[in-house]
């Protein structure tokens, strides 16, 4: 019996509970059983047969988890150094004789650099160099990750501004000094004279020149299917809306950091503090610096949150590398918060003009959307992918037989924009779900009934969406959308909830509920590989090209490896983000880590397991199909055969497979294997968000009383971590829906440059988010049925909050712009009063 059939057996005996409450109870029962087992004398003390059956017997038949680490809410491998203060984030790493870099940034949103005078800075003792564009003119602009684009390449960012500054925060000069305080002092002494030029501050401004000879709109992303014009001609009703999403971003609590070091003795250039996509960045940096990728090594340290913004190549990453080589000393750069709010990728800002063609019975015939995406001042590594994803995913979970979209990609004199957790989905879900609420209102139909009538049905799966996005053809792989809606409404006692809210409104409270449905995307391919090896102590190492941004990557990969191989997950060490350990890697983005790296781990572990069983069979004088691996020991799968009871550990098998071991015979040396997973289709999880919001009529302050997420994750490797991802995502979504906005004045001056202006949600702003995970639609695309979970929490928050506020204030369709700040909400309340 192999690991998978053992696992299936266990699963068939124990259906995973579908509600949060039941699941909690189930997890507690399982934890109790495991604790009881741990309290017993170790199995090794019992000399008789150890079989999977026996272990299951010992753990008790009521143990629903059995021994499969997949599906267990185990605690994280990552936590110990983090709670002890022993972690190493970028700022925590110091090399001897380091220089510290400080960037001089433009204080003008658009202008021509007349002069830069660094003499006063250079006069300070300890200041080693001050660089301007002139010093780095041989270095090309930071390229698009996915290759050249004739339309977008002219807008790429140089590592120091080339004659023109385009946003407040644009790097103009780099100061290198022996001490970070000194570097900051010196940067203040660099005198930059800039002649201001006219600014563009809105993506919806009339088309013009952004730079001499270059239009403010380099491209328009168009997608669609069906005959939209014919659908509108037949429509009983046409609903049109203008909707805006505010500019906000990931804002990790750790600012960016980069440490460059050049080791001349080996001719190796090192970048410490890499994140997200170290391997892709290594290749890009190699091209920019004219070096072989083998001679550049990127090292991920602890990462204080990624959310899409950290780990892209920014000017500072290139500057520390270049300086490390040219100044012949390690160079450290740690961003401060003010810089972070000016210079790290921003996101989300879009204005949509959307309309729907609707039949009187609620069937939505067509959606037609034109939107304007505010890219800011440069094209960064993602190019137009956020626009592309917005356009690709906008139709969501509804059939929508006809669809047309045009996304205008526009440059403005603001901080450059790129991806932020659920890029294009937070935006498009807000637009689509606002539109559906408006249609329901115009038809006088219950908004849930309207959604139900338009949802893609389970028998339509797999459902080809009819469009491509980011080079994948969208085919929803599996799902039962009506079922998740039903389960969500049941879990919430929806009718009772609505009634209680009605009663509270009748007594004068301003309270309401709203719902949003969405389809997520995850598991962007095309391929990922890992290498697993077992050492002579039986410890397992999984070397991945994945990356950790704090999401629990190590634990999840260890659980998958442990499940397939038959070891305790705590014996598995997971390596990530180290380009000198593995040649390729996809990193951590686009909901990829668990799906791609997890599946590759599964495949590699199967190979290691097969190798182990074959060698063990020889050592035990058995045949491999009689054996199984349990807790790091190869054992007889059944106690009823001759020789049952004899075991051999994976560590001993590894020793027997050493190159010099006689027992190895002609076998390939090493208890190790490489495994790959390839896919050309993304997998599509889906979810429902429900918010209950109360509004203070005097102040306009909204208070989120409840937030509920129903989400089908296909298969949860670690439900506790999935829930953690979702709850955290909701909190970020609440920020974007209610608090966070990078606002600019009409001259292009940023107004949110400290945490006093840019408001992250605090504990007081976030309710105890309720999560219902379901596993009704495992992905048919990967061996474990996994779908991504990282973006499930944030996707629908803007949409659900908007609907809840409409309901609370009794003004359907009132919310057309995010974030709904108290000032905007107060204005809506006043509008009602007048």
């Amino acid at each position: 019996m192999d690991a998978r059939s053992e696992a299936s057996l266990i699963e068939s005996n124990a259906t995973v509970p579908k509600t949060a409450a039941l699941r909690t109870e189930w997890i507690e029962t399982a934890a109790l059983a495991l604790a009881e087992r741990a309290a017993r004398p170790p199995a090794a003390a019992v000399p008789d047969t150890v079989t999977p059956e026996r272990i299951r017997e010992e753990t008790g038949t009521s143990d629903p988890v059995g021994r499969d680490p997949i599906g267990q809410s185990v605690t994280r491998l990552e936590d110990l150094p983090l709670v002890r203060g022993q972690a190493r984030f970028a700022a925590d790493l110091s090399f001897p004789r380091s220089l510290h870099m400080r960037i001089v940034r433009s204080s003008v949103p658009h202008g021509r650099i007349a002069s830069i005078d660094a003499s006063a800075a250079l006069a300070l003792r300890g200041v080693v160099a001050v660089w301007t564009h002139h010093d780095v003119a041989d270095i090309p602009c930071i390229p698009l990750r996915e290759g050249k684009s004739a339309e977008l390449d002219p807008y790429l960012q140089p590592i120091l501004a080339d004659g023109i500054v385009r946003y407040v925060g644009d790097p103009v000069a780099a100061v290198f000094a022996t001490d970070p305080y000194l570097a900051e002092d010196a940067a203040e002494r660099v005198i930059v004279d800039i002649e201001s030029l006219p600014v563009i501050t809105e993506a919806t401004a009339p088309l013009g020149e952004f730079l001499p000879g270059l239009p403010s709109e380099p491209t328009i992303v168009r997608k669609g299917y069906g005959d939209v014009d014919a659908a509108f001609a037949q429509a009983d009703l046409v609903v049109e809306l203008e909707l805006a999403i505010g500019r906000h971003s990931g804002v990790p609590l750790e600012t960016r950091g980069a440490i460059g070091r050049y080791d001349a003795s080996r001719d190796v250039l090192e970048l410490h503090g890499a994140a997200k996509v170290p391997h892709r960045n290594r290749d890009a940096l190699a091209r920019m610096l004219g070096r072989s990728p083998h001679s550049i090594q990127l090292f991920e340290l602890h990462v204080g949150g990624g959310f899409g913004v950290r780990g892209e190549i920014y000017p500072e990453d290139v500057l520390v590398l270049l300086a490390a080589m040219r100044l012949e000393r390690p160079v450290k750069w740690i961003e401060d918060r003010y810089e972070s709010l000016l210079a790290t990728n921003q996101s989300r800002e879009q204005l949509h003009r959307v309309r729907a063609a609707v039949r009187a019975d609620g069937w939505v015939l067509a959606m037609d959307d034109e939107f304007f995406h505010d890219q800011g001042a440069y094209v960064r590594t993602h190019g137009d992918r956020v626009v592309d994803m917005t356009a690709g995913i906008l139709p969501g979970p509804y059939v929508l037989p006809n669809y047309r979209v045009a996304g205008h990609y526009r440059l403005t004199n603001k901080t450059p924009a790129a991806t932020y957790r659920a890029p294009g989905r937070f935006e498009s879900t807000f637009v689509r779900e606002r539109l559906f609420d408006a249609i329901a209102e115009r038809l006088g139909m219950d908004p849930i009934e309207l959604r139900r009538r338009n949802l893609i049905q389970p028998q339509q799966m797999p459902f080809p969406r009819g469009i491509d996005t980011i080079s994948d053809t969208i085919v929803f792989d599996s799902g039962d959308y009506p079922l998740l809606l039903d389960k969500t409404l049941d879990a919430l006692h929806w009718e009772d909830l609505k009634e209680s809210l009605r009663q509270r409104r009748a007594t004068g409270e301003t309270v309401g509920a709203g719902l949003a449905y969405f389809v997520e995307k995850s598991g962007l391919g095309p391929a990922d590989g890992v290498r697993i090896s077992v050492d002579f102590t039986g410890a397992v190492e999984v070397v991945t090209g994945g990356a950790s941004v704090g999401q629990g990557f190590e634990t999840v990969v260890a659980q998958i490896c442990a499940s397939t191989l038959g070891v305790d997950y705590r014996r598995v060490r997971v390596i990530h983000g180290q380009t000198n350990r593995i040649q390729y890697g996809i990193g951590a983005h686009a909901g990829r880590a668990t799906v791609m790296t997890g599946s590759a781990t599964h495949n590699a572990a199967l190979k290691v397991r097969a190798k182990a069983l074959e060698m063990a069979a020889s050592l035990l004088g058995a045949s491999a199909d009689q054996l199984s691996v349990v807790d790091g020991q190869v054992v007889y799968a059944s106690g009823d055969v001759a020789g049952a009871g004899r075991t051999v550990s994976l560590g001993d098998i590894a020793s027997a497979l050493a190159p010099t071991a006689p027992a190895r015979g002609g076998r390939e040396p090493g208890l190790s294997a490489e495994g790959w997973y390839e896919t050309h289709s993304m997998t599509y999880p889906y979810g429902v968000h429900v918010a209950v919001v109360k509004v203070d009529r005097d102040t306009g302050a909204p208070r989120v009383e409840r937030f509920f997420v129903g989400y089908d994750v296909g298969r949860a490797v670690n439900p506790m971590l999935v829930e953690g991802q979702i709850v955290g995502g909701v909190a970020q979504g609440l920020g974007g829906a209610l608090l966070e906005e990078f606002s600019y004045d009409e001259r292009g001056e940023p107004l949110a440059v400290t945490f006093a202006d840019y408001l992250l949600p605090t504990l007081a702003d976030v309710p105890a988010v309720e999560v219902m995970l379901t596993e009704d639609a495992p992905s048919p695309l990967n061996p474990l049925g996994i779908k991504g979970a990282g973006e499930a929490g944030i996707n629908g928050v803007g949409a659900a909050i908007a609907a809840a506020i409409d309901d609370a204030i009794g003004q359907p369709g009132a919310v057309t712009r995010l974030p709904v700040s108290p000032a905007r909400l107060k204005a809506l309340l006043r509008r009602r009063a007048s």
Binding site: T75, R76, E78, D79, L80, L82, V83, R84, G85, Q86, A87, R88, F89, A91, D92, S94, Y181, G250, V251, P252, L253, E254, T255, H302, V303, G304, G305, G306, F307, D336, R337, V549, G550, Q551, G552, M720, L721, G724, Q725, V727, G728, G729, V730, A731, Q732, T754, F755, A756, L760, T762, L763, A764, V766, A768, V769, G793
Partner: protein, 157 residues
């Protein structure tokens, strides 16, 4: 101009030399080698740098090292007793109260100062106090659960 400063951190003595403008956070991190205290904003909003000074939670980014001279400083590195974690550290692990872990030291020190008080705060006071630090990953739910659990565990010891 650097001057000699003596800091008492986790009951150890550190003789350092620092400029008067050096923040306590930088002195702890760079001069004492205690990098468990993190800097998230350097203007006193996020609370990642929270340490305990004479029993009270303080933003180490808003305090100069010279101001901490002669006072008892506690940082995250001093929470565990050898291999034995502080109940709050254990509770953070058990309740999945951290993801990236960058804010964790600040929350641990803030919460320690609250739950170790002779008159521990009631739940509302606890929530009010915890809302003074920022976490970008967890959505706070599990942090609250962990602190509540540790508060109970501590009183049962």
């Amino acid at each position: 101009m650097k001057q000699p400063i003596t800091l008492q951190v986790n009951q150890n003595t550190y003789d350092i030399e620092a400029e008067p403008r050096r923040t306590l956070a930088d002195a702890l991190r760079e001069d004492c080698g205690l990098t468990g205290t993190h800097l998230g904003c350097e203007h006193g909003v996020c609370g990642a740098c929270t340490v305990i000074v004479d029993g009270d939670p303080m933003r180490a980014c808003l305090m100069f090292a010279v101001q901490a001279e002669g006072r008892a400083i506690r940082t995250v590195e001093g929470l565990a007793a050898g291999a034995t974690l502080h109940p709050l550290q254990q509770a953070f692990i058990d309740h999945h109260a951290l993801q990236c872990g960058f804010c964790t030291a600040g929350f641990l020190m803030l919460a320690t100062s609250l739950i170790e008080r002779a008159d521990p705060p009631d739940d509302q006071e606890l929530l009010d106090a915890l809302s003074s630090n920022l976490c970008r990953c967890t959505g706070y739910k599990n942090i609250v659960n962990a602190v509540r659990a540790a508060s109970v565990a501590l009183r049962q010891r």
